[in-house]
Subunit: 364 residues, 2 copies
């Protein structure tokens, strides 16, 4: 793992934005390391592995969650597959990478960043494969590290762009966790809040608890407390009342997938907050890196993941809140149509309407 | 407790509608008896008392909940106060009743049925007070028993009226528990479902879990399972997606307070379902007895209860889902404006718009 000093150098430049380090590659041990978000806010446990399948499992079970975090973790998992390959031949290595890609691609179907990351790593591997075995291995790791650093930088850029929308003393309603814990660091929607806070704006966050997995109650509470940003926790049911009573000035949410039309898949419950925001005339912003954008015009291409009934009937995997043998409909995401979205904040700036014109431009 | 045979006679006529008996007055022992809804669906524990303060506590802690159930229980609590009074004089008795009324009135501020029931019992007591001590005691008990039987009959009438809106194979989205467990028996919104089911209509219920107290996940699941009515449980966040995907044909909810304008206070989360129903053009019905109607034109008179932060941060009073020392905004109800309500189903029939004309008529 020599020759990776540049990563430390780049990271040190970002230090002020990395109060929370949700995941990284340990260049000394060759391990991928991540904070197990299932234990937050009660315990801060980092897990480590050299096995890409373990990373796939961590994504599936939501130890790692949040579209950008999933993407970067999948890239590192590909690097682990390359680093620990015993194939000996370029053909064998490429086959193993393809196998790893398939395993990782089958973990979560909605987050577009996952597929984007896997494609990008594979493209690099294919490119290097003409140059020799070691070039592939090093190239895949290099690409993953680049994506890791890019994600953090991208988030800071998103924060900078989005913060222009945030005025002093604004109260921001948010849903699900889109902070450091959803990315390689810093965050998207919560990154905007963080950036505004760092700029000295006195913002207050109203966060939903975000059932069933409680990313709001667990992860946002933990992140906001760490930053000292004032916040209020509400049940998901209270979002419309908060808007009706004028207790929030704007809504900021993340995205798991955005398409050229502006249709945005995000955590289940986003849609009803968007509808309520429209009803009460409050700005509703989607905040995400352009790696979340799937270049398609067809909302039918957005796959909505449905997760186990147990996720609903057993809170945090432990406490049964009802009978276990019942029928549960547990979609993890919903799709917010463009009419309900005020604008989309990306690292390339704020994307205004018409989305079908301006979203494709961000990928150029 | 002699001379109360008529109650048994009346009850036997309603037997077919009382598969679940959530509360009653035990005329043999002089005790008020209720099912502790906090333990449902895991345990079916009936609690008993002769102490009206214990009933007040049960309402406060939500062992008993649901506006009609609260109203009837408060009436029985007044009967307990009268029956167990040691005052000896009519003046002393009336003072004790006033004290009991104040204690009971301070349990939950939003459910209008509570105040309606207390007023009605006090009016009867005042009326009887000209006729002697025993007449007051017996009168208060008689009034409570009448209100108990009336509530069940009223719910069956509501069911009959509402069932006309329900077609075979309809899928009904509901929020919070409005079944037997929210009333003296049978239920309001869930009573409509029950009535339609008894008529042989193949309905399916989609119930939210209804955070923070989980009346949907716990109580609706238990009641629907008991009836054999097919259902699906969703998190509150999934309501809009269910409507967007055309998975529900109508929405039925209860009410804790309805005023002459049609503004309806109901369980937190009702408002955002109503907004989403309007957005997707799905009928949204409020189902409640006329005892829920407060004769006022001023929405400002609706008091919204805010409950403890612990109700949110500690699921079912036991499991901590996040840090305990954080700021929580925990309103128990929200107010749905008349524009979002298709019609209101009462025991007097379906109240159509204009509400400001037709709601007052129901009280005549």
């Amino acid at each position: 793992m020599s020759g990776l000093g540049w990563v430390r150098g780049e990271l040190s430049k970002l230090e002020g934005f990395l109060k929370i380090k949700p995941l990284y590659f340990d260049v000394d041990t060759g391990e991928f390391v991540w904070l197990d978000t299932r234990l937050i806010p009660f315990e801060e446990v980092y897990r480590r592995t050299r096995d890409y399948r373990r990373v796939a499992e961590a994504i599936k079970t939501m130890e790692i969650r949040g579209a950008p975090a999933i993407g970067v973790s999948a890239a590192f998992a590909m690097a682990l597959a390359a680093l620990n390959s015993k194939s000996g031949s370029i053909e064998g290595l490429m086959e193993e990478l393809l196998e790893a890609k398939n395993v990782l691609a089958s973990t979560r179907p909605t987050a577009y960043n996952l597929f984007w990351a896997l494609e990008r790593v594979m493209a690099r591997a294919r490119e290097e494969s003409r140059r020799g075995y070691d070039r592939v291995v090093n190239g895949v790791l290099d690409e993953a590290l680049r994506m890791y650093l890019e994600d953090i930088k991208t988030n800071v850029e998103i924060g900078r762009a989005g913060s222009r929308l945030v005025e002093d003393n604004m109260r921001i309603l948010t849903h699900c966790n889109t902070g450091a814990l959803a990315t390689a660091g810093f965050g998207t929607a919560l990154g905007v809040v963080r950036y505004a806070w760092y700029e000295g704006k006195k913002v207050t966050v109203i966060t939903t608890e975000t059932r069933p997995v409680l990313q709001g109650a667990r992860l946002n509470v933990w992140e906001l407390r760490k930053e000292g940003i004032p916040f209020k926790l509400i049940v998901d049911n209270a979002a419309a009342l908060v808007l009706a009573r004028g207790m929030a000035d704007m809504v900021l949410v993340g995205a798991d997938r955005i398409i050229f039309t502006g249709h945005t898949a995000n955590k289940i419950g986003t849609l009803q907050i968007a509808i309520a925001s429209k009803h009460y005339n409050k700005p509703f912003y989607v905040v995400a890196p352009t790696s979340t954008i799937q270049p398609t015009w067809n909302p039918q291409e957005i796959v909505i993941e449905e997760r186990s009934s147990e996720e609903v009937t057993r809170v945090m995997g432990r406490m049964e809140i009802t009978l276990q043998d019942i029928e549960v409909y547990n979609p993890s995401f919903d799709i917010t149509p463009p009419q309900l979205i005020t604008a989309i904040v990306t690292e390339k700036g704020i994307v205004e309407k018409p989305f079908e014109e301006n979203i494709p431009k961000t990928l150029k």
